[in-house]
C-alpha cells in the first residue's frame, strides 16, 4: 500500500497526540484481580465444570477473562483453580428434559 493510500485509510492511521477524541481510560483505585478470578472459578465449579473446563475460560483468547491469564500466567492460574476446587469442590448436576421439544431446545 502506498503512503498516500495509507494516510487515506482510517485503519492505517497512527494515533496523534493532539487528537481531541483519542480514546483513553478511567483509572479507578481498588479491587483485586485474584479475587475476581477466584469468584469466577467458584461460579463455574457450582455449575459443574471441572478443572480443565474452568482453565479454558481464561486461556481462550476469545474471552475477555484472557486478560487475567495473560497477566498472571498459566502456572498461577492452574494453582488457583486447584486451590479453589480443593476448598469448595464442584457440583455434579444432571439435567432431564420432560418432553421432546421441537425448535429451540432440540
Amino acid at each position: 500500500m502506498s503512503e498516500e493510500l495509507k494516510n487515506a485509510h482510517g485503519r492505517e492511521k497512527q494515533p496523534e497526540a493532539d487528537d481531541p477524541v483519542e480514546l483513553v481510560v478511567n483509572w479507578v483505585e481498588g479491587g483485586d484481580p485474584e479475587e475476581m478470578a477466584t469468584c469466577l472459578i467458584e461460579e463455574y465449579a457450582r455449575l459443574g465444570m471441572n478443572e480443565q473446563e474452568i482453565f479454558e475460560l481464561f486461556s481462550q483468547p476469545g474471552y475477555r477473562t484472557h486478560a487475567l491469564y495473560r497477566q498472571r500466567g498459566e502456572t498461577w492460574l492452574r494453582d488457583l483453580i486447584q486451590r479453589v476446587l480443593g476448598r469448595t469442590g464442584r457440583l455434579r448436576v444432571s439435567v432431564q428434559f420432560s418432553r421432546p421439544t421441537g425448535g429451540c431446545d432440540a
Binding site: Q14, P15, E16, A17, D18, D19, P20, V21, E22, L23, V24, V25, N26, W27, V28, E29, G30, G31, D32, P33, E35, M36, T38, C39, L40, E42, E43, R46, L47, N50, E51, L57, G62, Y63, R64, T65, A67, R70, Q71, Q82, L85, G86, R87, T88, G89, R90, L91, R92, V93, S94, V95, Q96, F97, S98, R99, T101, G102, G103, C104, D105
Partner: protein, 436 residues
C-alpha cells in the same frame, strides 16, 4: 407534571404521563458474577437485528468493561455528573425508610432525570435545559458511539487525560486493577425516558408485556429519545432517518415463530439464549395497577428480585424504573456498586454468596432451556455434602449441599426441564492420583 409511584426509589416521582401499567412486564436478571465477556450475546443480537446498512454502529446488546468502558463512551459518568450538578450533594438514599414492597431499598432523596429538569428547577436558573424540556439528558457524538470496547481491557493511557498520547502502539499496557463486565440491553423501563421525551408520541409500551417500541411510521428521527434515555439504548439510523432500539425479540416472546417455537410457547430473546456463561434469565412478571408486582414467588424473576433481593436495578436513581436486574459482582469495591445498583448491594451479595436451597436450585436453571420459565418448584432431597464459601466479610462458612431437584414450567404450565444437584465432587491433584 403528574406524580407516579416508583418502587425502586421508594417514593412518588414526577413523570410527564399519568401512571399506567401493562398486565405483564418483560423483565430479566443478569448474573454479572458469571460473565466472561465473550460477546456471544452481542453478536447474536447484531446478526439478528442490526446487520443492515445504517446500523453499523448500532449494538442493541453490548457488554462493556467496568469501570473503564461504556457504549457510548462515558454514558453513565456523564449523566451522573449532570444529576450531581443539578442537585449538588443531594443525590442520596435514606436507607432507614425501608417499607416492604413499596420501598425495599429505602427512599431516594435526590432528583431523577425527570425531576432535575422540572419547571421549578428551570425558574431557578437550572442550566440543564434539554431540547425536549422533559428529561435531563444529552446527545452523544459520533465519536462516542463508534468504538465500543476499544481500550476497555487494554489501557492506552494510564491517566484520565486525552493528551498527550503516552503509550507504545505495539505494546499497550493492560489494566492492573479490578474490572467486571456489564451486559446491557434496553431495560424496557416502567417509566421510559425515551417515551416521555418523544414529541411525536411515536414510542409506546405494549399493554400485554410492557415491551417499549418505536413506531417506525410515526418516528421522524428527532432523536429526543436518544438524548433522553439515560442508558443510551435508542439509536439513530441515518439511512432511514428514524431511531431504533431493542425490541425484546418480541416475535420470540409471543411464541409465534413457526420454526423456533413450533409448539407456540414463548422463548427467551436471542441475547439470552446465546449466553455462553449461563448468566441470563428472562421472564414475564405480573404487574398490579399500583406499580407493584403481584406476589408470585414461584416466578423465577419475582423470586430473585422481590423475595431474595439478590438482583438489583441498574442506576435506579435515574428514575425510569428499569426492568433489567443485576446480581452484583461480589469482588468489586462496594462504593462503586452502591452507586451503580443502589443501597441493596451488600444484602444482595450476602444472600447470593450463601444461598438458600431454593436459590441454589434456581441458579442451576439459568440457560438450561430456551423457553421462558414462568414457574419453578424445588423437590427437596437428602443432604449429600458440604462446601466451603467465603462471605463478603472474609469469613468462611459451610454450605450444606442437598440432593435437590428444581423443576421448571413454561408459560403454558407444562414441565420443561428438571435439574438435580447430585453431589459435590472433590478431585485429587494430579500428583496424588495413585496415593491412598
Amino acid at each position: 407534571m403528574p406524580k407516579v409511584h416508583n418502587w425502586q426509589l421508594g417514593r412518588p416521582m414526577l413523570y410527564p404521563y399519568e401512571e399506567s401499567h401493562p398486565k405483564r412486564q418483560f423483565a430479566f436478571v443478569f448474573n454479572t458474577n458469571r460473565c466472561i465477556g465473550c460477546q456471544t450475546c452481542t453478536m447474536a443480537c447484531k446478526s439478528t437485528w442490526t446487520f443492515s446498512r445504517g446500523q453499523e454502529y448500532m449494538w442493541w446488546n453490548n457488554v462493556e468493561t467496568k469501570p473503564y468502558g461504556g457504549y457510548p463512551q462515558y454514558w453513565d459518568q456523564k449523566i451522573l455528573a449532570m444529576l450531581e450538578q443539578a442537585n449538588p450533594g443531594g443525590q442520596v438514599w435514606n436507607v432507614g425508610k425501608k417499607d416492604g414492597e413499596r420501598a425495599p431499598y429505602g427512599v431516594f432523596e435526590g432528583k431523577t432525570i425527570f425531576e432535575a429538569i422540572s419547571e421549578e428547577q428551570n425558574e431557578e436558573g437550572n442550566t440543564f435545559q434539554t431540547t425536549s424540556g422533559r428529561v435531563l439528558g444529552y446527545l452523544p457524538g459520533d465519536d462516542e458511539w463508534d468504538a465500543p470496547n476499544i481500550y476497555e481491557d487494554t489501557a492506552r493511557n494510564p491517566a484520565n487525560r486525552r493528551t498527550p498520547w503516552g503509550g507504545e502502539g505495539t505494546s499497550l499496557p493492560a489494566h492492573r486493577t479490578w474490572f467486571f463486565y456489564l451486559q446491557r440491553i434496553c431495560n424496557h423501563c416502567t417509566y421510559p425516558a425515551c417515551l416521555a421525551a418523544c414529541p411525536r408520541q411515536a414510542i409506546y409500551k405494549r399493554p400485554e408485556d410492557g415491551v417499549v417500541l418505536i413506531d417506525q411510521e410515526r418516528c421522524r428521527g428527532y432523536r429526543k429519545c436518544v438524548e433522553a434515555c439515560p442508558y443510551k439504548k435508542p439509536m439513530y439510523r441515518a439511512t432511514t432517518r428514524t431511531s431504533e432500539k431493542c425490541i425484546a425479540c418480541y416475535p420470540r416472546l409471543e411464541g409465534k415463530d413457526s420454526v423456533i417455537t413450533p409448539d407456540g410457547v414463548p422463548v427467551e430473546t436471542r441475547c439470552m439464549t446465546a449466553c455462553v456463561g449461563r448468566i441470563r434469565m428472562q421472564g414475564l412478571v405480573k404487574v398490579a395497577k399500583d406499580d407493584s408486582w403481584e406476589k408470585d414467588p414461584e416466578n423465577p424473576i419475582y423470586y430473585m428480585v422481590k423475595e431474595e433481593k439478590i438482583a438489583l436495578p441498574l442506576y435506579p436513581q435515574f428514575g425510569t424504573e428499569p426492568n433489567g436486574f443485576y446480581i452484583p459482582p461480589r469482588w468489586v469495591p462496594r462504593d462503586y456498586l452502591i452507586q451503580m445498583f443502589g443501597p441493596g448491594v451488600e444484602a444482595a451479595i450476602e444472600a447470593y454468596v450463601y444461598p438458600s436451597r431454593r436459590l441454589l436450585g434456581l441458579l442451576q436453571l439459568f440457560r438450561v432451556t430456551q423457553k421462558i420459565i414462568s414457574r419453578f418448584k424445588l423437590i427437596e432431597g437428602q443432604k449429600v455434602g458440604e462446601s466451603e464459601v467465603t462471605l463478603p466479610s472474609g469469613k468462611t462458612k459451610t454450605l450444606a449441599i442437598f440432593n435437590d431437584t428444581v423443576v421448571a414450567y413454561d408459560t403454558d404450565g407444562q414441565e420443561v426441564v428438571r435439574v438435580t444437584v447430585e453431589e459435590p465432587i472433590y478431585e485429587r491433584p494430579k500428583q496424588y492420583y495413585n496415593s491412598i
